[in-house]
Symmetry: C2
Subunit: 801 residues, 2 copies
């Protein structure tokens, strides 16, 4: 018998550029009175896997702002509730703050913040602009905070901590937006505060110096030293985008660009926000900017191919990517921030744009846009990631659930807070939301679940969603990028491929490969006798069956022992997590129509998998079955619905349970009174899957009936009889229902045709051409040929019945 | 030519029992401190289409409760924001209140409310239990409220307004839960307050009387008089379920049942909540109850078949439907309310159960369960409608968007507030949510939309979702129940059926019928020359194309005039409403691969429609196209993907635009250099659709190729050449891509076979059987037969090439 391997299961288009993950939104807090600033805490994405969130609004003259920390529910807590911790209730209007983990040597994870700004740029408090640091004096995860003042400058507005002129002390770069009410002309100081020996003992202000002056600064970004020299400071304001740094002798300035040109009557020009994008090895591959103060223009600065790495000394060319439309009567628009992050994991940063919203409301100007550099063309494409007003964006890792650190790129989540400042711009229903990067979303149907997944071929992230614990197995859906490893429990975990391919080298040094289907009418183990599997060029989508001790272990002598559990993690919606997946006796299913009466035969539904893109292509539908000794699941041939069905056995409790199929034509087999002598059997042992039982052509495509359904022989799962003297025992198996797909072809028949009566059928009219009297009288030989094969085999004339 | 009509498009299973609508959740308010009570305002579902919501928590000793009204955003406001109006800030702990529209003669829509309860049942304020009415002295939609005291009784807990002993005055039935702290034994009074002549002028309490006493009452339900006698009062408490009423002489009591029996050590027995279900003409078909005080048991009282209508005098049998599990150490569980509503519109009420949640958290005990009576079996099935903690449920009409009053049953929406009472039970993240009944949900994919819809055959509600305004047409998706009318703009609106059938009698008194496909290779108008269309036994799913003046009117001489608008209403999510549906030049589509260069040919994507049940069956994918004069959309034959494609032309701007198909075998046609002499054309005029262009067999099934795709001739939309002297003009059409479906069969060919070379093909091996030398030498005639047809027509032996 010779097999030809034609292809590996449902296609998933290898070698594609990185695609975006899905972003699952979750509301952290609704019903806020206002909103302005958000940070992830701790502040470094390198040091924290399940960041907390700090968020606040500016407050008003009447109501001071609460600076609140929301404790991450995905770290070590079982429930999915954001606990709220009020950091500090400031007595007057608060303004943005910054933070830096390197202050950790002074206090575990302190926070630096400024307040006492004034009601607006036209009402700046002349003695305000307080800069404070909050000492974390408690449990780092549930802190208590002590406020200490480090200094003041009116209209203080942006802060960053770092090492700007010395490495032995924490320093804070503090930049007011203006110097006094309504004065947009006088430049404001760029102040460096330097921590005293022990800041906890100091009563007065920290030493400070003014290192330069800038106009209308709306963003300060830290450019880390990366071990050489000092941290640099990138500033966006009316002067455009400037990098300033201390070279050991004096302060230097490099102007990246002047940003949006000034226009008559409009007091705002230059830049409003800025972010530096890593592109491969270059930490400054391009620079993104919004223009100008609360403006509507998105620009990028790029440098010629072959330029040196970094910012300084390169020739940067400004390019306007998009203008979100005319400004309002106050000459402001909707953009509040740009921030870079490699959200697709391809090593090249995207940038996100925080849009506060507009009056009148405009979806384009509300939420989060993502711009992605298309490296081949040098152009940027934009995609909307959220439609909820965003004052600021915090990027972080907010969960580890279903993720695999170390397996390549790491997922970047983000969080936003609505921009809502009474008297300036108020968005409706201000809220804090997180957006979790994932390859698998899930929603509830009626009793079933619909998974929507990214394409394995183009994602850079491994995603796993555990969903069901049954018969001592945890079932999880996994998306694995191309040529990537996935670790399993050797000799105990099993895998069932849904798309693409997995391989491993087994303990006898033999290459094992699994695709969505085994050989036709064959059987193979799902158990992996290695510590990891690898995907191929297309990546892989698969179900992993891990050992579990939550649901009872086999053998099962009664259904009480075979309990299923919904194990969707807390990152999924309440509606999905609240579903139960009960075993329902098949006689009680509406489609049983009186059949399967009193049979120990049960069904558990069910899980659809579609691709989460505009195609919505279907990948598979999965459901589970269990049957006691001697039970027949009923011979059927799928004449009503077209799919390719594969069964994977978790527990072969009856010993000889497996698939039987009729070896005779449909009309010669009575499914209600099956003659097993007319069938063949493939026993499917524990943790095995069988191959296709449908008819395929030599190209691997399923053969179809006249009603377009897939041509199956009569077939059924028949449980074994087990030991008649022992107690009941159940088979448990999973049915995978695929849309029609190509697979290994069935063995080619010999190039000769069996004796029989043949007719010429016109497929359009179904007219049949036959020889008169069913007999060719002259003995003219009839030849059989195959495409590309010359054969001299002769068959009898078409006379036999 | 004779056609046989085999069936009408995709199946939708006629004659099914009523199915549930979808319930689209929307958060009204998140981030609450607490939650307890919710009402729709105004209070009658008969008089209000877009109810506001009143919600509040109980408050604490430190923080009084705000009683807040949320103004409905779907009535006359364009944006989707819930405005909040604080009704009254009560000075101490507030407790449930009631309301009744019949107080309207006293004050426009007053509110009756009680407060000053005390911190708990063990700390009842002896001088509290105030009953107030709030006079609405302002604009009814944005009211200002004046509080006036009506009386007091300690531990006042439930109120209902009505006419209990006289019809000329408003009366209030007021029932405390107990009479003093920690006393669960002494019965509490059932008090009737009667309004004085002009309640606005009265300074002191209203006249009142105690009409009976009951134990531990937790629910009071009004049973309207329906024009005879007085309103009755149904009470759930430790005494079980009692109906009390004034018969004109004295107060009467009828005990429906005693509810949950008492058990040792548990102070709570009887009933905790009660609701009366309408079943057809009987306003008391059954009675639902939860047991006991904050208990875990769901019960119903039923009466024998043939019993008289109503409650009184019937023999009610209690039946426990479900026990949600053991009570906690304080002998309480998770159910707070039961309420009846006909949510599936079949004339028989379902009942909803409000579950507050539990500690530890348990999804089964959190949210809203719905119980539905299966009339055939007398059993109840239960379905989860929400998984967010529900202290109370308010049923109302919260929107009219996409609904058709008068076309049969009316949709019932509901709203819930989380149960969260500090010190007793606190649910996480308390919120107020509405759940909008609909037949159509929509979610965003990437650039496209996925509609999930109910089955037209089993819904009782007509749902319409407008989604796109383009080329002077509003496109809306409509789900129409069986045998139902849908009104259209006569002679200007058009309809394109997606499933089921629509018919109308045209202006020449001729029956017009439309299914998902016209006659093969034919063409028919979509315009309805009548004022309404009717669905058939299966109902119908269709797109209606209404006239619009938002997008520019044809003819279009440039694409600037052909602008599309997203018109999804505010009941859909921000992500769907924020989508734009731009016309994208086909040369810029990634799948163009360099083709269609510089052609005036544009594409607008796209809309998937699936059934919103566990099948997730696909119904159709829709996208739009436009092409300028002389443009060919490119000959293709869908060899990559299997679907049945129908085009509906909105504007035939080029005059002779339409579908061309090759009349020769595929291999004799060059799609890159098409010879139009080898094609036929069906011009598709404005507002017309063409019939199937694929090959079908006599049973109406599409014929398939070897790769299982549908067998199409080469075909393309070819725009007409228009007037060469006039300016540019565009065709605009919609492509409907259906999964393979049956349709009208192609005309039967005559029962004879054309001369030619015929081969015997073995479908398994593709072996071909041929006569040697392609020649039968003895002149044996070959007969052609059709199934069931005896024919003597002779064809030549199979020798001709």
């Amino acid at each position: 018998m010779s097999y030809r391997k034609l292809f590996l299961g449902p296609l998933c288009d290898p070698g594609q550029p990185a695609s975006f993950p899905l972003f699952q939104p979750q509301q952290v807090q609704g019903g806020r009175d206002d909103g302005y600033w958000i940070e992830a805490f701790p502040f470094s994405t390198l040091t924290n896997d399940c960041a907390n969130i700090i968020g606040y609004g500016l407050g008003t003259r009447e109501n001071a702002s609460n600076v609140e920390m929301f404790i991450n529910p995905f770290s070590d807590k079982a429930d999915n509730k954001y606990d709220l911790d009020i950091l500090s209730k400031f007595i007057q209007i608060t303004h943005p703050y910054i933070v830096n983990p390197r202050l950790g040597k002074v206090s575990p994870l302190p926070i630096i913040i400024c307040d006492q700004y004034g009601p607006s740029m036209n009402e700046i408090w002349p003695n305000g602009g307080r800069v404070s640091w909050l000492e974390n004096v408690g449990d780092p995860s549930r802190p208590n905070w002590t406020q200490r003042t480090m200094g003041r400058s009116p209209a203080m507005h942006r802060l960053k901590a770092g090492h700007f002129t010395r490495n032995d002390r924490v320093q804070v770069c503090a930049v007011p937006i203006i110097v006094k009410s309504s004065d947009l002309t006088t430049p404001a100081p760029v102040i460096i505060f330097t921590a005293p020996d022990d800041p906890r003992q100091v009563q007065g202000d920290w030493p400070s110096e003014v290192v330069t002056e800038k106009h209308l600064v709306h963003e300060v970004v830290l450019v880390p030293s990366e071990g050489r020299g000092f941290d640099q400071i990138l500033i966006a304001g009316r002067d455009g985008v400037d990098l300033i740094w201390f070279d050991g002798v004096s302060w230097q300035t490099f102007n990246v660009g002047t940003g949006l040109p000034s226009s008559p009557g409009n007091p705002y020009w230059g830049a409003g926000s800025v972010a530096v994008a890593r592109v491969g090895e270059d930490s400054a591959g391009y620079i993104a900017s919004s223009e100008a103060f609360h403006g509507n223009t998105v620009s990028v600065y790029t440098k010629p191919t072959g330029s040196k790495r970094g910012i300084v000394g390169n020739k940067w060319t400004r390019q306007v990517l998009h203008d979100f439309g005319p400004l309002n009567g106050e000459h402001t628009g909707s953009i509040h921030q740009v921030i870079c992050a490699d959200i697709d994991g391809d090593g090249c940063d995207e940038f996100l744009v925080a849009m506060m919203g507009s009056a009148p409301a405009d979806w384009n100007r509300t939420g989060v846009w993502c711009y992605k550099l298309q490296k081949e063309t040098g152009t940027f494409t934009k995609t909307k990631l959220s439609n909820t007003s965003a004052g600021r964006i915090a990027v972080a890792h907010f969960t580890n659930v279903g993720r695999f650190a170390g397996a390549g790129a790491r997922e970047i989540d983000f969080a936003t807070i609505s921009y809502s400042v009474p008297g300036y711009f108020e968005s409706p229903n201000p809220s804090i939301n997180i957006f979790l990067s994932t390859g698998i979303s899930a929603e509830r149907l009626d009793e079933e679940v619909s998974f929507n997944i990214v394409r394995a071929s183009s994602t850079r992230f491994t995603t796993e969603a555990e969903f069901l614990d049954v018969s001592a197995r945890k079932l999880a859906l996994v998306i694995l990028p191309p040529d990537s490893p996935y670790c399993v429990a050797e000799d105990s975990s099993g895998i069932k491929v849904l798309a693409g391919a997995l391989s491993w080298v087994d303990d006898r040094n033999k290459l094992q490969e699994r695709t969505s289907a085994a050989r036709p009418f064959g059987c193979q183990t799902m158990t992996v006798n290695a510590g990891a599997v690898m995907s191929g060029k297309e990546g892989a989508v698969f179900v992993v069956l891990k050992p579990s001790n939550i649901s009872g272990a086999p053998p099962y002598s009664s259904m009480d022992q075979l309990v299923s559990h919904n194990i969707f993690p807390a990152t999924y919606s309440a509606d999905v997590r609240a579903l139960e997946f009960p075993w329902v006796k098949v006689q009680d299913r509406p489609w049983a129509h009186g059949r399967f009466k009193d049979l120990e035969f049960y069904n558990l539904v069910g899980f659809h998998v579609h691709y989460a893109d505009d195609s919505l292509d279907e990948l598979v539908h999965m459901q589970l079955w269990t049957a006691g000794k001697g039970v027949s699941a009923g011979f059927h041939n799928h004449v009503e619905k077209s799919f390719c069905e594969i069964h994977a056995c978790i527990v072969n409790g009856t010993g000889q349970g497996g698939m039987r199929w009729a070896t005779v034509p449909d009309q010669n087999f009575d499914p209600e009174d099956p003659d097993l002598d007319k069938t063949e059997l493939v026993v499917v042992p524990d943790m095995h899957e069988h191959g296709p039982l449908w008819h395929t052509g030599p190209d691997g495509h399923p053969l179809l009936r006249m009603n377009d359904t897939i041509d199956y022989p009569w077939h059924a799962w028949l449980a074994g009889d087990g030991d008649p003297n022992s107690e009941q025992s159940f088979d448990v198996w999973v049915a995978f229902e695929f849309p029609s797909f190509e697979t290994f072809s069935t063995p080619a028949r010999p190039p000769a045709i069996q004796p029989g009566k043949y007719s010429i059928l016109d497929p359009i009219t179904q007219a049949v051409v036959i020889l008169k009297d069913d007999n060719a009288t002259d003995g003219t030989p009839v030849l059989a040929t195959l495409p590309g094969v010359v054969s001299s085999a002769k068959v009898r004339p078409a006379t036999a019945r």
